[in-house]
Amino acid sequence: MYKNIFKEFEKNERPFYLNEYNRISDQQITSALQNPNPTIADFIALTSDKAIDHLEDIAHKSKRITEERFGKTIQLFSPLYFSSECSNKCTYCSFSMDNDIVRKTLTIPELMKEGQYLKNKGFSHVLLVAGEDNRVITTEYIVECIHSIKKIFPSVIIEIAPQNIEEYQIFAEAGCEGVTVYQETYDRDQYKLHHLGGKKRIFDYRIDTPDRACIAGMRNVAIGALFGLTHWQIDTLSIYHHLSYLQKKYWRTSFSIAFPRLRAHVGEYDPPPEYILNDTKLVQLICAFRICFPDTGIVLSTRESAVFRDQVFQLGITKMSAGSSTEVGGYTGDIPPNEPQFQLEDLRSAEEVAQSIKNLGYDPVWKDWEGTMHAIR
């Protein structure tokens, strides 16, 4: 499991690498761009502040690698929020248990109505999202949700509370193909400051979640950090390390990464300026990860603005959400309005996003999975 390896990393290697950021030369950046098998030293060079002067070259290389590996295609998916119940206290999230919002958990008919709405929009890939409260969002309920939604979607991925291996096996057998779980932050001290109550407080349990999902046989695992909780260098280096570990250990699993940035929400936390990942830095991260991990999926959500997404997806992104709602029951609308988990920036419809992708010379891919491929029990 990763937690012990990470302990070594955060104690010894990470401080060393953080220090490396202070002495990057132009020469190192140029040679990083030429290295056919980039190392973590190259990665640091490519994500350094100095590399901003080389951003055009970095972007060109990233774009070329992406087109070679994935073609000029973008896979589209949609989140479907099915519960806002949560027993965690997190400073940055609207679903935090302290927040006085209307809580809602979809019944199966309500879930199917939302699902059918997305199906009619053309989606084949759905991400089921829920808060973290295992008293309401039980294993049995989740299995029922997966089973039901799988009838209309070939590809179902879950973003819910971290689970044990046994639960993940049950979900995989029910037809769930992947797990998305962000560490939020790999900075242990900041993690404690932002996760004040609930099971999520246990840093080590969360960081081993991708291991458990892989062991259980999930085919796609997405990891990432919520940028804004600590200095971006800490989380960036840690994602690099975590991803390298996972890809080597679980060679059959397909991995994706994402770099969500904090947005306005119902909560008390506003990131200090030095923690903020600005647009330039985000572009740098996308391109540097692409150059160092040519085969890894990179996801860009509707947290980012339409203008920004239209430009950035061409540099290294493989999957995008579109026409999203982060509200439980937010698509079909006949459920009393409640609080979205966070505010979105790209408010275009799925069709508008797809059209924009086409206009930019890319093929929006709605279906890239066959649900009946593996046996569902």
Binding site: G71, K72, G122, S124, D295, D363, E370, H374
Partner: protein, 263 residues
């Protein structure tokens, strides 16, 4: 009629260039590339086929009167999944041809020989025309032929790399020993690679990334069509042997029969 047609399981195909349908910037460009390449066979990932969608379906863009569909099992990680996908394609009316691709490592996308062999045995019994994608492994190629595969499709280099025929010597052995068509699949990054494969005696080549990711995919299809035809023509014309040693002008054994001997 074409007297040099590619023959797969007793069916004639006029072209020796097989195209993919992935990675194109649009379905329209894909359709035009297929048309100008004069191909008679294109492969389609079964996992991408969606028969009940409001969106465009990839197959709508292929003129199935002139081009045969070669459904493939890409995405499958073991024999069981590949078999399931193949049957799904057949029941959806996509025919008996199947390009068997089993790739358990999502990063390298290299084929699993053991699972491919298992699936081939089953699918042959089920009456499919099985075209397995394999590493350039001459023994596996022979085993698959014995198991009833209709072609073998060894890779030139890992898929999507455009690195050309890195496995050339193994491919040469496969071609030498095979009685079924050998189609070089994956890694062909330039028309010159395709020509090289055809000159060696490959029966056909399969190209996707090099065309779909080209700046002008349509023009690149034409370039590949010409390369495949010229490589084939060169092969049929009998290429001169390449020799690394100079041919000695004074034969070393010329004395035999000239001097008196005790024979």
């Amino acid at each position: 009629m074409n007297n040099d047609a590619l023959l797969i399981n007793q069916i004639e195909y006029s072209s020796r260039l097989i195209l993919g349908t992935g990675k194109y910037p649009s379905n329209e460009i894909m359709a035009e590339s297929i048309k100008v390449s004069k191909t008679s066979m294109v492969t389609v990932a079964l996992r991408r086929v969606d028969t009940n969608t409001s969106h465009e379906n990839i197959i709508q863009y292929i003129d199935t009167n002139t081009v045969s569909l070669l459904p493939n099992t890409s995405g499958a990680v073991n024999a069981e999944e590949a078999i399931r996908l193949a049957k799904l394609g057949r029941s959806a009316g996509l025919g008996d041809l199947i390009k068997l691709e089993i790739t358990p490592d999502p990063r390298s996308l290299l084929p699993d020989g053991i699972e491919t062999f298992k699936a081939c045995e089953v699918l042959v019994k089920e009456g499919f025309t099985v075209m397995p994608y394999i590493n350039a492994d001459p023994i596996l190629a022979r085993n698959l032929e014995d198991a009833g595969a209709s072609t073998v499709m060894p890779l030139g280099s890992p898929i999507g790399t455009n690195r050309g025929l890195e496995t050339k010597e193994s491919i040469r052995l496969i071609i030498e020993n095979a009685s079924i068509p050998v189609i070089v699949d994956a890694g062909i990054g330039a028309p010159s690679h395709a020509a090289e494969a055809m000159e060696m005696g490959a029966d056909a080549v399969m190209v996707n990334t090099a065309i779909a990711s080209a700046k002008d995919p349509i023009k690149m299809s034409v370039a590949f069509q010409m390369a495949v035809e010229s490589g084939r023509m060169a092969y049929l014309s009998g290429l001169g042997k390449i020799s690394t040693d100079a041919i000695a002008s004074s034969p070393l054994t010329g004395f035999l029969g000239q001097v008196n001997s005790n024979v």
